[in-house]
Structure formats: structure tokens, C-alpha cells
Symmetry: D2
Subunit: 137 residues, 4 copies
């Protein structure tokens, strides 16, 4: 259990989207940073590392995007649609390609299977928030 | 619930410390990144922002250190005591000063109370891992 | 002088935009991370910190976005238009609002004046790259 | 040319070490983030990726540590020896092992040669600052 929801509840900011949706996106993003960092690290030890290049590269980008997305969403004080939307778009895209590639290796490598799942949870949470965001203003 | 433990279990790396301890440290670190980012953001909206400068500054450093600590611990493939130890030391110190400062404002600002708690959980988890680390090699 | 251009020249990747433009964007982004981190830190010491809340908040978001943009652009091996474009958009927006706010304080605080300039250089470099990007595919 | 020195000059903080040394460390750190991110990305495209696993893994850790070190040094307002010292130690160690590994591949891969050099410049700048730091207090 994280403190994310409590922190958002305690914020004096006026947050223009549902707190439950922001919470889900933040938690899914940090979980995805961890999964992608760990998956790339595991890939680098596997015998078939040559088959996993794409997976490693996509994990690195996905981890960085999820990290920044989680941090920006954690600072809702000056919620700027014109920052949040494209950032969520980039994050959803990075999660999607990473999930697809991890899926290709899921049978052989359990870390890829778990990581694919973490990416999908994250892209869904960020996609839901993006939809809510686009309904605003 | 995060996938941290599962990702560590699935890693082909030989990890020289207990997985439960690494898991606790990683999860506490990411939770602390969120709490510190959110606390600083909330501080910036409060009327008494002038009293909260120290809190904001310490939150920023704590967030960055916890973020990097979580990422490095999530990549246990080449566990280097000489990187992990000082990084944990720096992280524990940042969490300690941030928790102490947040505590000073905990009565007035609920976000500071939650953040102080998140920092303490993190410094304990990282301190436990640091002790285990120092017992190695 | 940075090694950015040399690193891009040495990459075996097929990079779909001009290397000079990528180099300029990466270098401007890292410079902007530094300026924004330092500006927020300085703001927190100033007597008129109450007037600088917006500046601090925008600097934090700008620093995070520039950091991730610089890292993603530094990994051109799997250049994904659908990640790069929205990320550049978010980065340009964050730099623009941060530059505008820093400008408001530029007469009183030299760190705001320098930071505003760093943000403008960055938004121009990223904007140029975004234009080049959108001319692709 | 970066704005690092100017930003430090403009800071109202009392910085307990020489500004020239902090500037050198910050600039070398950001340059090293770029070089390490780019080197790992290039490694992932090379035919002999199997030989480069260690290089990739060390580059990832080095990039993260240099990034956080640069950010923390860019916020000198609350300079805490007990954070700065271990962080610099961890950073110097990560740069050292990454430089050594990149050197092993320097003849075959120009990106490794440049990255090794960037790591050495960074470890020297951070080492100098660490020495100055330890002379304090």
C-alpha cells in the first residue's frame, strides 16, 4: 500500500481530475519504473541477450517516461493540461510498445511476463487519466 | 501491491542480500519519491510557505535520492557494494533530515505528517538493507 | 564543450533527424535541468519566496521534463516518433511557462534571468527538433 | 558552454566549497549521463552485444548516479555534507567501473572510447570535489 491517495487528499491544490484516477496512474507508473528497470537488468544476464536488445531498449525508455510522469502527476499544484496530456500520451505509447515486446518473450522469461503486465496496467491507468484529461477544459 | 518482489524472484541475478529486504527498500523508496514530490508541491500552495522553505528543499533532495536508490536496487545484476553502500547512506541521511523537518510541520499540515511517516519507513528499510550490506564480504 | 555530438556520430543507429539538431536539443535540455534546479533552490532562500512559488513549481516540472527528454534523445537506437513528439511537446510547453514566469522576476533575481534564458534556448532547440520530427513520416 | 557557473554565482546560498569545483562536477556529471545513456543505446545495436552486457549495465547505473549527483549539487542551498559525501563516493565508484569496462571495448567501439573518457573526466571532477568536501568541517 502506498501513501499516494492520502497525499493527494491532503493537497491544498484544486485537482481537475478524479483523485482515484490520478492515484492509480501514479502507482502504476512507479511500479512500471521498477518492473522495467528490473526486466532490462535481468535481460542482460540471459543467454539469449541478443534476442532481447529491443526489450532492453524499450524498457529503458518506458522506465524514464513512467518516472517523470509519476513525478509530474505527484505535483498537481499547477496542473497544466498542455504538459500533462502529451506526457501521458508519450507514456502510454512507451508502455504499449514495451508491453508488446515483453509479451514476445513472456514464455521464456518470467521477468518479461511480469513486466508486460506492469506495462499494461500502467498504460490503462494513464490512458484512463488521459481520457479524463481530454474531457476537461 | 507492487510487482517488486516478483521481479526480484524472477531475476537470474545472484543477489547477495535478502530479497525481502531489497523489496522493502525499493517499495519504500518509490513511495517516498511520491510523498516528497507531493509534499513540496503542497507546501508551495500553503500560506506559510515562508516557514516551509527548508521542508521544500529537503523534500526535493530526498525525492531524487530515493528515486535513484530505487532504480539502482531494481538492477541487482551487478550488485556493487561500493556503489550500494554509500548510496544507501546518502538516502538514509536525506530521509532522516526530511522526516525531522516534516515532523515540525505535521500538526499544521497533514501532507507533512504523511510525508514524515513515508520518510521514516524509507530510512528504516534502507537502514536495514545497509546493515545487511555491511555484514557482507 | 560536451561529448554529445561525438556520441551521436559514433552511434550505429539510423537517426531520422539531423544530428546537429538532436545535439542542440540534448545539450539545451541538460543545461535547463541545471538552471531550473538551481533557480528553484535559490528562490527558496530569497526573502520574497511568497512571490516565487509559481516560479519554483514550474522550475521543478521543467527540470524533470528536460531531464527525461535529454535521456530519451540520447538513446536514438529505437527512435519512436510517437514517443519523441509528445515528449518534445510537453518539454516545449514546460520550458515556455517556466521562461515566462522567470522573466517576471528577472529584474530582481539574476538567477531567474539566467534561468529564463536557459529555458528559451531549450524551447527553441526542442521546437526546432519537433518541427523536423513532424516533417518525417 | 553551460550556464552552471553563472547559476552558482547568482545563488544566494553560502556554498562551502569552491564554485569552480562544483561547476566542473555538475557539468561533467551531465555530460556523463549523456555519454552513458548513448553508449548503452549503441551497445544494444552492436553485433557483439553479448560481450557488452557488463558495459550496458554499468552505463545504466553510472547515468542514474551522475544525474542525481548533478541535480543535488545544483541545489546548494542546504548543502549537507552527510548527503553530498556518500553521493559523490557512489558516483566516483560508478564512473570508475564504467570507465574501466568501456576502456576494454574502446578499440572496437568508438562510443565506448568516448564514454570512457567522459566517465574519467567525471570521476576526476567528483573526486576533486569530494577531497575538498572532506577538508571541510
Amino acid at each position: 500500500m502506498t501513501d499516494t491517495r492520502q497525499m493527494l487528499d491532503a493537497s491544498p491544490a484544486r485537482i481537475p481530475v478524479e483523485l482515484g484516477e490520478v492515484t492509480a496512474a501514479i502507482d502504476a507508473c512507479f511500479n512500471c519504473v521498477q518492473a522495467c528497470a528490473a526486466c532490462a537488468d535481468s535481460d542482460l544476464i540471459e543467454e539469449d541477450v541478443g534476442e532481447l536488445r529491443e526489450c532492453i531498449a524499450l524498457c529503458l525508455t518506458c522506465a524514464d517516461l513512467c518516472d517523470t510522469t509519476a513525478r509530474v502527476l505527484s505535483r498537481p499544484g499547477r496542473w497544466d493540461h498542455l504538459v500533462v496530456r502529451p506526457l501521458l500520451e508519450a507514456c502510454v505509447r512507451a508502455c504499449t510498445t514495451c508491453a508488446d515486446e515483453c509479451d514476445r518473450h513472456a514464455k521464456h522469461h518470467r521477468h518479461c511476463a511480469i513486466c508486460a503486465e506492469a506495462c499494461r496496467t500502467c498504460l490503462q491507468a494513464c490512458g484512463t487519466l488521459l481520457d479524463a484529461e481530454q474531457g476537461q477544459q
